[in-house]
């Protein structure tokens, strides 16, 4: 039987084999952790003239599922076929409704200048007409203006623009708190009598230099301390430019037309997807392999499909799409680049410290939080933190007193907090800046929000996160952590390493009390993940660094707070200049 079959095979082989079809095997790999950052691959194929002709999506939840490979082929004999492939690696469930291409470049806004007085306000940067600009107002009420109908007082930010000829100009807030904002235009910022516009209505302006002033009113700190995206443009163009900056949710192009409209209803969310465009040149009767690595550094940098620009390996940087280099048929996959930071800390932890290994992960959580709270856990942000040392416990009075004896300034007397009953109690009722000065005295700093979340939620394998120090399942009552709903005799602040929680509320890397006991200050200024401050943040070591911010992020739960559903993913904010009895801190050392 076998002999017979081999005879047939030889006979077939002896005939002149026809050439193969032109084909490229596309081998897609990623250096981002699976499944923490990516667990699905979406492939969309477009012809050279931009027609969308294929779309497929595959799950790839285990690291061993990668690389994935598929091929594109042609039976054309006369000329090479050129197609564009859009490859998106993304985490499962992070999709949004598809309403057509909604390209938005990653923000790379310079640090805004905060004005606290008229002199700073009136030396504003010059902006380009027709381009969206982010203006940040500070916490201080210092600017007053009298307009036609009302007097405005609040914090303010300004920008300068130049007109070469007489124009009809409109200025307005495109994104941000529109309701509590007033827009003024003056010929000279400090001169009230030079006001030419008292609200965001069109105005006819002659050639010259003008100062646009945004006044943020409102009584709540987040109304005053806020980012507003401003557009100053010719009135005829303003509405169109504003609409382009905030795409409406409408059915849009391109569409996948194949036996009717076969456009997928969902697409990966751009803020967490690694989005890559490649061009494939398929030569007639030739087979080749294209190796493509989707780099984690590109997570959150959306490809510009219409403009033919894509992120290759540098966060936020788009380059023109190029033809994928081709290897010989049968060649093996190229080596993966290291995107994950190392696990080992640069130095061994001292007494009372633990080593938190480096990690690449999605900061935030899709299933936590409440959209109505000031700080929502969505959208998630790809983030990388290098390994660092972290205090094993929250800062205790014993440690603080030792530092005060060594020369650290003692904390200002607390307003409404009782004196600590035990030296092992966590230090609470201190302001953000005092907490930071303690950490700096100790040779470190407060952890960034990304560092804190990674330290609290990383699994031992570093490929994913979990909601509680012990896993993903909530624990009943207060058995596992010192949080609200403990019986009254227990519902109070507890020693920083006190049992039983020192055993249960403990991360795999040994940090105690990240979930319960007291909430903890982080270095970051409070900002929503969809605010410009976060959208412009790099993937590596992101931080909203603003020591002057009125509100800073606090993480973790406390003996006074419930909300166990969100575990360590919940975000909260607190006024920087106050302390409270359920808010402490611990230090990080980089």
């Amino acid at each position: 039987m076998r002999r017979l079959l081999s005879l047939v095979a030889i006979a077939v082989a002896c005939r002149a084999a026809p050439p193969p079809h032109g084909e490229i095997l596309v081998v897609v790999d990623t250096d981002a952790p699976v499944p923490g950052m990516v667990s699905r691959l979406r492939v969309d194929l477009f012809t050279a003239d931009g027609r969308w002709f294929e779309s497929r999506e595959y799950p790839a939840r285990a690291a061993t599922d990668w690389p994935l490979s598929f091929s594109v082929w042609t039976d054309r004999e006369d000329a090479p076929s050129v197609i564009r492939a859009r490859l998106r690696a993304f985490p499962e469930g992070r999709t949004r409704a598809y309403f057509g291409e909604r390209f938005r470049p990653k923000l790379r806004s310079p640090k805004p200048i905060l004005a606290r007085d008229l002199a700073t306000l009136c030396a504003p940067p010059t902006i380009e007409l027709g381009k969206l600009t982010t203006l940040r107002t500070g916490p201080d009420d210092f600017f007053s203006a009298k307009c036609v109908e009302a007097a405005y007082r609040g914090s303010a930010a300004a920008a300068r623009f130049v007109l070469d000829a007489e124009e009809d100009i409109t200025a307005g807030v495109v994104r941000g708190l529109v309701g509590s904002t007033r827009v003024l235009i003056r010929r000279s910022c400090a001169d009230e009598t030079s006001t030419v516009l008292c609200d965001d209505l069109p105005v006819r302006l002659g050639p010259g230099t003008y100062d646009l002033i945004v006044v943020a009113g409102g009584s709540r700190p987040e109304q005053r301390w806020s980012d507003r995206e401003i557009l100053v443009a010719r009135t005829a163009e303003w509405a169109e430019l504003a609409r382009a900056a905030t795409p409406a949710d409408v059915q849009g192009e391109p569409r996948l037309l194949r036996d009717g409209d076969a456009t997928p209803s969902l697409e990966p969310r751009p803020e967490s997807a690694i989005d890559r465009l490649i061009e494939l040149h398929i030569r007639p009767s030739e087979r080749a392999v294209a190796h493509v690595v989707l780099h984690g550094a590109c997570a959150g940098t959306m490809a510009d499909l219409a403009g033919g620009r894509t992120c290759v390996e540098e966060d936020g940087v788009l380059g023109a799409v190029t033809a994928a280099p081709l290897d010989a048929w049968g060649s093996a996959a190229s080596a993966k680049r290291a995107f994950m930071p190392p696990a080992e800390c640069p130095r061994a932890p001292s007494e009372g410290q633990v080593c938190v290994p480096g990690g690449a992960f999605l900061l935030g959580d899709l299933a936590s939080g409440d959209p109505d709270t000031p700080l929502f856990t969505v959208p998630e942000k790809p983030a990388v933190v290098e390994p660092f040392l972290l205090d094993r416990t929250e800062m205790s009075w014993k440690r603080l007193r030792a530092m005060i004896a060594a020369g650290l300034a003692p904390p200002p007397p607390p307003v409404s907090c009782a004196a600590p009953t035990d030296d092992d109690m966590p230090v609470t009722c201190v302001t953000w800046s005092y907490a930071r000065s303690v950490c700096r005295f100790a040779g470190g700093d407060l952890p960034t929000e990304a560092e804190w979340e990674w330290a609290a939620s990383a699994t031992i394998e570093r490929t994913s996160k979990r909601r509680f120090p012990w896993g993903n399942a909530p624990s009943t009552g207060c058995a596992a952590a010192n949080i609200m709903h403990c019986p009254p005799e227990v519902e109070r602040v507890h020693r920083v390493d006190g049992e039983p929680w020192a055993t249960s509320d403990r991360t795999p890397f040994g940090a105690i009390g990240m979930l319960g006991n007291v909430r903890e200050w982080t270095v970051d200024a409070a900002a929503r993940f969809d605010a410009p401050a976060w959208r412009g943040n790099p993937v590596v070591a992101p931080v909203v660094d603003d020591p002057d911010a009125a509100l800073h992020v606090v993480r973790g739960l406390a003996f006074t707070t419930g909300g166990t559903r969100d575990g360590v993913f919940g975000r909260d904010q607190f006024t920087a200049v106050y302390g409270v009895n359920d808010l402490g801190f611990r230090c990080a050392y980089r």
Binding site: V8, P20, V72, R565
Partner: protein, 322 residues
């Protein structure tokens, strides 16, 4: 008190001057109307008249009168606010007699008010008392009920807050997104210190599962719940969803649904690839090959072999360029 109010009327009405404008005249008329209501103990109407007068021509005496009427109605948080406002503006023309009286009343009122400590869970829950939101007290660091105009409940901005309320019965309405609304009736005695814990129950979540294949069976947490599409209610939390159909690779996923959330799952079932040796026809076909050696002559004599098949890679997907 009526005597005091009448006296006040005289003070305000008597010095009519030639340069009085129309506003002041109207304010006076409203004031007189207010005092008439007071004499008939029509406190509500009196407050209306005094408030109109105050809007036209503000005067601490008018504010004082409003406070006196509120006190008579037993609305102590409002009375306290008006009387303190009048005292704060004492320099603008509040006679010392009335100031002394106001201070005595305030001392009484402070002893009558109920100090309520409200704890809410979740902390984002919005609370209203008798259909009015709780607002910041202008005279202390706490909160106060009954001052704001009737309106929707507002979050307390804190897990535990101190609120001043009038003694007597009150209706508390607590609501939070993803939680069921709670309506609570409580009655407090004058001067009491009380605690109120408002814990809302979480709403269940809604889970919808669709499948790209007809007749696929959906199981949630190991329980078959029906043929896709299904639409059902489950408690919030983590659930395992499995969608299966013979001949297709089962779809399995975990969903974490928040209270009140609607979760839409769409299961894409892919055709299962059965190993060659497990297919029913394999051994039959093998037999056919063995017995039909003559078939080989076909291969030897056929006109031309096919081009090699395209590869398709690990995903077994070969896309043809149109």
């Amino acid at each position: 008190m009526r005597a005091l109010l009448v006296l006040t009327v005289l003070l305000l009405v008597a010095p009519a001057r030639a340069d009085d404008d129309e506003k002041t005249t109207k304010a006076r008329a409203e004031f007189v109307l207010g005092t008439e209501h007071v004499q008939a103990a029509r406190w509500g109407e009196a407050i209306g008249a005094f408030e109109r007068s105050q809007a036209l021509r503000p005067h601490p005496l008018t504010v004082y009168n409003i406070g006196a009427c509120e006190r008579a109605l037993g609305r102590y948080t409002r009375a306290r606010d008006r009387l303190r406002t009048a005292l704060a503006d004492e320099a603008k023309g509040l006679d010392a007699t009335y100031a002394t009286e106001a201070r005595a009343w305030l001392a009484q009122i402070e002893a009558l008010l109920v100090h309520l400590s409200i704890a809410v869970s979740p902390t984002t829950a919005a609370v209203s008392v008798d259909g009015r939101p709780i607002v910041n007290d202008a005279w202390s660091t706490g909160r106060v009920a009954g001052l704001a105009a009737p309106g929707p409940a507002q979050p307390l901005a804190g897990a535990k807050v101190e609120v001043l309320v009038d003694p007597g019965p009150h209706v508390f309405v607590v609501a939070a997104k993803g939680f069921s609304e709670a309506v609570i009736n409580r009655t407090f005695t004058a001067g009491a210190r009380a605690e109120l814990t408002l814990d809302l129950e979480r709403l269940p979540a809604r889970v919808r599962v669709r499948a790209n294949q007809p007749g696929a069976v959906v199981a949630i947490d190991g329980l078959d719940v029906g043929v896709a599409p299904v639409d059902l209610t489950r408690p919030a939390g983590l659930h395992t969803v499995v969608v299966r159909k013979a001949g297709f690779v089962s779809y399995s996923t975990q969903i974490d649904v928040s209270p009140g959330q609607e979760s839409n799952l769409s299961a894409d079932l892919e055709v299962e690839k059965v190993p060659l040796t497990k297919r029913w026809w394999f051994w039959t076909a093998a037999g056919v090959v063995v017995s039909g050696a003559a078939v080989s002559t076909y291969f030897l004599t056929r006109p031309a072999p096919d081009r090699p098949a395209v590869d398709g890679g690990g995903l077994e997907w070969a896309a043809k360029v149109p």
